[in-house]
C-alpha cells in the first residue's frame, strides 16, 4: 500500500515537474529579478562619471523616485479614469451582445457570434495600426466623409485620443468577453426558462431575473480580466504615439516603465514601476473579488 502511494506521489511529481520548472524559470525567477533590480541602482565613477559604473544597493529609492514622478502618477490617474469608463462599457456591451444573441434564431447566432469575435483574432498591434489610419485626417475615409458634412473631429488630439484608444480596445475585446458570457449562458439548464415561461415571465423578465443572476460568475471573471488589462494598457498608445500629438512618453504606467528601461536605459527605475503596477493590479483585482464576494454572500 505504501509502495503504491509512493509510486503515485513520484508520478505526480513527474507530471508536475515540467510545469514547475517552466513556472519557476519564466515566472518566479523574472519576478524575483525585477524585485532585485528595483532595489538597486548604478553608481558612477571617474571623470565626468564616465570612468565606470557598478551596481549598488539603493534601498527603496527607485520606488520613491517613481512615486515622486508627477508624470508617472498622472499616468496612473489616466488609466484609472480610463478604467472607470472602459470597464463598465466593455462589460455592458459584452453582456448585452450575449443576451441578444441568445434570443435570435440559431443560424444567425453562429454568424453574429463569429463576426463579433473576429476582431479578437487581429493582433492588438495590427488593430492599432488599422485604427490609426482611420483616425488620421488625409488617410481616413471616415474622416473624409465627415469632412464633406462639415465635421472635422480631431480623434488624435490630447483631449480625445484616450477615448479613441478605448474604442480600439472595445472593438478588439468585446466579442471575446461576449463569448465568455455566452459559454456561461449555454450552461444554464433549459428547464429554468421553461419554468419561468410557465410562470408567465416575458423574455425581458427572463433575461433580467433568470439569466443575469446566473451569469454572475462570468461577469465577475470578465470584469477582473478587464481591470487588469486596462491597467496594463500599452500596445495601443505605443502604436498610436507617432501619429498623435496627445500621447506622452509616460501616457500609461506600462509605457512609462518601458521608456525608463528602453529609452532611458534605467532598468532599475523601470523594475520599480513594473512592480508597483503589478501590486496595483493585484490589489484592484482582489479588492473587486472581495467586494463582489461579500455582496454575493449578503444576498444569499
Amino acid at each position: 500500500m505504501a509502495a503504491v502511494h509512493r509510486r503515485t506521489t513520484r508520478a505526480a511529481w513527474g507530471f508536475l515537474t515540467p510545469f514547475l520548472v517552466l513556472f519557476a524559470a519564466t515566472f518566479l525567477l523574472p519576478i524575483g529579478y525585477a524585485i532585485y533590480e528595483s532595489l538597486h541602482k548604478n553608481s558612477l565613477s571617474g571623470p565626468l562619471g564616465l570612468g565606470g559604473s557598478h551596481t549598488v544597493f539603493a534601498g527603496l529609492s527607485n520606488y520613491s523616485r517613481a512615486l515622486g514622478d508627477a508624470a508617472f502618477l498622472a499616468s496612473v490617474r489616466r488609466v484609472l479614469l480610463y478604467a472607470v469608463v472602459q470597464v463598465p462599457v466593455m462589460i455592458l456591451l459584452a453582456v448585452a451582445l450575449a443576451l441578444l444573441l441568445d434570443t435570435v434564431s440559431a443560424r444567425a447566432v453562429r454568424f453574429f457570434r463569429a463576426t463579433y469575435f473576429m476582431p479578437y483574432g487581429v493582433p492588438g498591434v495590427i488593430a492599432s495600426i488599422l485604427w490609426g489610419f482611420l483616425y488620421t485626417p488625409g488617410t481616413s475615409p471616415v474622416l473624409a466623409l465627415a469632412g464633406h458634412a462639415g465635421l472635422h473631429p480631431d480623434l488624435l488630439g490630447g483631449g480625445s485620443v484616450l477615448w479613441s484608444i478605448a474604442n480600439i480596445v472595445t472593438w478588439e475585446f468585446a466579442g471575446y468577453n461576449m463569448l465568455v458570457v455566452t459559454a456561461q449562458l449555454q450552461a444554464i439548464p433549459g428547464d429554468l426558462y421553461e419554468a419561468a415561461r410557465t410562470d408567465g415571465a416575458s423574455a425581458w423578465q427572463i433575461a433580467r431575473r433568470v439569466k443575469l443572476p446566473l451569469l454572475r460568475p462570468a461577469i465577475v471573471l470578465t470584469t477582473v480580466f478587464t481591470i487588469i488589462g486596462t491597467l496594463q494598457l500599452f500596445a495601443e498608445p505605443l502604436i498610436l504615439k507617432p501619429v498623435s500629438t496627445g500621447i506622452s512618453n509616460d501616457y500609461t504606467p506600462n509605457l512609462s516603465a518601458y521608456n525608463s528601461a528602453f529609452a532611458n536605459n534605467d532598468y532599475y527605475l523601470a523594475s520599480a514601476k513594473a512592480v508597483l503596477l503589478a501590486v496595483a493590479a493585484f490589489v484592484l483585482s482582489f479588492g473587486f473579488l472581495r467586494l463582489v464576494g461579500r455582496r454575493g454572500g449578503a444576498s444569499r
Partner: protein, 446 residues
C-alpha cells in the same frame, strides 16, 4: 485587453525580464573567454560582429570581406537605434555578449560612455585618421581627449520647398531669414487655406534642438568634472517664442512628422516646405514620387540677414564596444568603412546621409544635378551648410530623456496646455534632474 490578453501583456514584460535574466546568467559563461586583446598572428583569421541598421551597409561590409579575407566582419542587421536597437545593445553590454562594433548616433555616444561601454580608440592610434573627417563630426566621438567613435554620416540642414506652390502664392524666392519664412507662411496659408509652409513636429524635438543649435545655442557641455546644462537661454527662448507665434497665428501645421498624415501632405502639397537635413531628400523622393520636378532646396533661413549659420540634424558613427576581442582590427574596419571612397559610394547608394569623410562629396553620386529637385545641384546647398555648423555643440548621457521632456511639453502646448517657451524653460530643470538622478555632477553656472 482583457482576458488572456491582459495576461499576455503581463507575460510580455515577463519575457523581457526572462531574457534579461538569461542574458545575465550567461555573463559568467561568456566573460571568461571574452576579454584580452589577443594579438593576432600573421595569417590568422579573425571574425568580428557588427550591428547596424543603415540601408546598403551590407554591400560595403561584403566589399571589405572580399578585400580582407583574414579580418572577417559579420554584419547583423538590427532595428534602428530608437526603435529598439540601442535597447538591444545595452542589454547585450549588460550581459557581456555585445558585438565588436555597432552603429551609434552622435547624440547617443555620451550615453554609451556612461558605463565605459565604448573602447578608447586613441590607444590604438585612431588619432592619425582625424584628418580624413569633417572636424566637427570627428569631435562628436571625442571625450576627455580620447576617441570613442569614428564618424560616419550626418545631416547638415537646409530648406526643401515646393517652388511651384511658392510661386502660386506670389513668392518669387525662398525665405532668406526667419522673418521672411514667417511672412511666406502667412502668404501661402492665405492664398490657399488648406496649404501650410510646413509643420512643427511636437513629438520630434530633435528637430527643434537642431534649430536652437543653428540660432547659436549650446545646451550642453562639460566643465572639468561636471556636465553643464544651458537650455533656457535667450537664444533658445527666441526660437521657441518664434514657433509659438507661428503656432498661435495658425500659419503652420502642428502634426507629427514621419507619420501617415504628413506623408499624405507631402504628396498632396498640403505642406509646401520642410526645414530638414540632407537625408530628407530620400524621404521626399521615396514618399512623394508624384511631386518630382517641383522641389528645390535653399539654405536654412537666417536669424540675421546675410548670415550663414547652419545646424545638423541626425548623425551617426561606428563605435567599438566593450569586450571587443580585436579592437585594433575593429578600428581599421571602422575607418575604412567611413572613409574609403568605394565604401562611401556604396553607402551613398543606400542613402546613409551626408558623408563624414571630407573627401566624400566631390565627385560622388551626390555631386550631380537632380531632376526631382528641378534640375538643381541641390547637394551644393548641404555641402555649404556642412561648412557652417556650430562646432562646439555636444551631447549629454541623458539626451533621450531631454528629448522626451521637450516632446511632452511641445505636445501639451499643441493641445492647448502651456507653450513651447514654457516647455523649454521647464526642460532646463528636468534635464538637470535627469543627470543628477543618473549619478552625474551637474552645473548650470554660465
Amino acid at each position: 485587453m482583457h482576458n488572456t490578453c491582459g495576461w499576455l501583456r503581463f507575460g510580455r514584460r515577463m519575457i523581457w525580464l526572462a531574457c534579461l535574466t538569461a542574458l545575465v546568467l550567461s555573463v559568467a559563461a561568456c566573460s571568461g573567454s571574452g576579454d584580452g586583446n589577443s594579438a593576432t598572428k600573421p595569417g590568422q583569421k579573425i571574425d568580428m560582429t557588427f550591428w547596424s541598421w543603415v540601408p546598403g551597409i551590407d554591400q560595403a561590409v561584403a566589399l571589405w570581406n572580399k578585400e580582407n579575407p583574414n579580418i572577417h566582419v559579420t554584419l547583423q542587421k538590427i532595428p534602428s537605434g530608437s526603435s529598439g536597437g540601442y535597447a538591444k545593445m545595452h542589454a547585450a553590454l549588460k550581459a557581456g555578449n555585445a558585438p565588436d562594433l555597432a552603429q551609434v548616433e552622435y547624440q547617443e555616444i555620451p550615453g554609451f560612455l556612461m558605463g565605459s561601454n565604448l573602447i578608447d580608440l586613441s590607444q590604438y592610434g585612431a588619432g592619425k585618421y582625424q584628418s580624413r573627417f569633417t572636424p566637427w563630426q570627428w569631435k562628436e566621438g571625442v571625450f576627455g581627449g580620447k576617441v570613442y567613435a569614428i564618424p560616419q554620416a550626418s545631416g547638415p540642414m537646409g530648406f526643401f520647398y515646393r517652388a511651384d506652390l511658392f510661386a502660386k502664392a506670389g513668392i518669387s524666392r525662398p525665405p532668406a531669414t526667419w522673418a521672411e519664412y514667417e511672412q511666406d507662411a502667412i502668404k501661402i496659408h492665405q492664398s490657399n487655406p488648406t496649404e501650410y509652409i510646413g509643420t512643427f513636429p511636437p513629438g520630434n524635438s530633435a528637430w527643434f534642438t537642431a534649430l536652437a543649435w543653428q540660432a547659436g545655442a549650446n545646451w550642453f557641455g562639460t566643465s572639468g568634472d561636471t556636465w553643464t546644462v544651458h537650455i533656457d537661454t535667450p537664444v533658445t527662448e527666441k526660437v521657441a517664442t518664434y514657433w509659438d507665434r507661428l503656432r498661435t497665428e495658425h500659419v503652420i501645421k502642428t502634426e507629427p512628422d514621419f507619420a501617415d498624415g504628413w506623408y499624405k501632405d507631402l504628396q498632396t502639397g498640403a505642406i509646401a516646405g520642410w526645414v530638414s537635413a540632407q537625408w530628407g531628400d530620400a524621404i521626399i523622393t521615396g514618399n512623394a514620387p508624384g511631386t518630382s520636378g517641383m522641389w528645390k532646396v535653399a539654405p536654412l533661413p537666417q536669424w540675421t540677414a546675410g548670415g550663414t549659420d547652419s545646424a545638423n540634424w541626425g548623425g551617426s558613427s561606428t563605435a567599438v564596444l566593450k569586450g571587443a576581442k580585436h579592437p585594433q582590427q575593429a578600428l581599421q574596419f571602422a575607418t575604412w568603412l567611413n572613409s574609403d571612397p568605394q565604401s562611401i559610394a556604396l553607402l551613398i547608394k543606400g542613402g546613409y546621409g551626408w558623408p563624414a569623410a571630407t573627401s566624400g562629396y566631390v565627385g560622388s553620386s551626390l555631386d550631380q544635378p537632380s531632376p526631382f529637385f528641378s534640375g538643381q545641384k541641390y547637394n551644393d546647398v548641404f555641402a555649404d551648410s556642412d561648412q557652417h555648423i556650430n562646432e562646439s555643440w555636444t551631447w549629454i548621457p541623458t539626451t533621450d530623456q531631454a528629448y522626451q521632456h521637450l516632446n511632452d511639453g511641445f505636445s501639451a502646448a499643441v493641445n492647448g496646455k502651456g507653450s513651447f517657451l514654457e516647455s523649454v524653460k521647464a526642460a532646463q530643470g528636468q534635464v538637470v534632474d535627469d543627470l543628477k538622478s543618473a549619478g552625474f555632477k551637474v552645473s548650470t553656472a554660465q
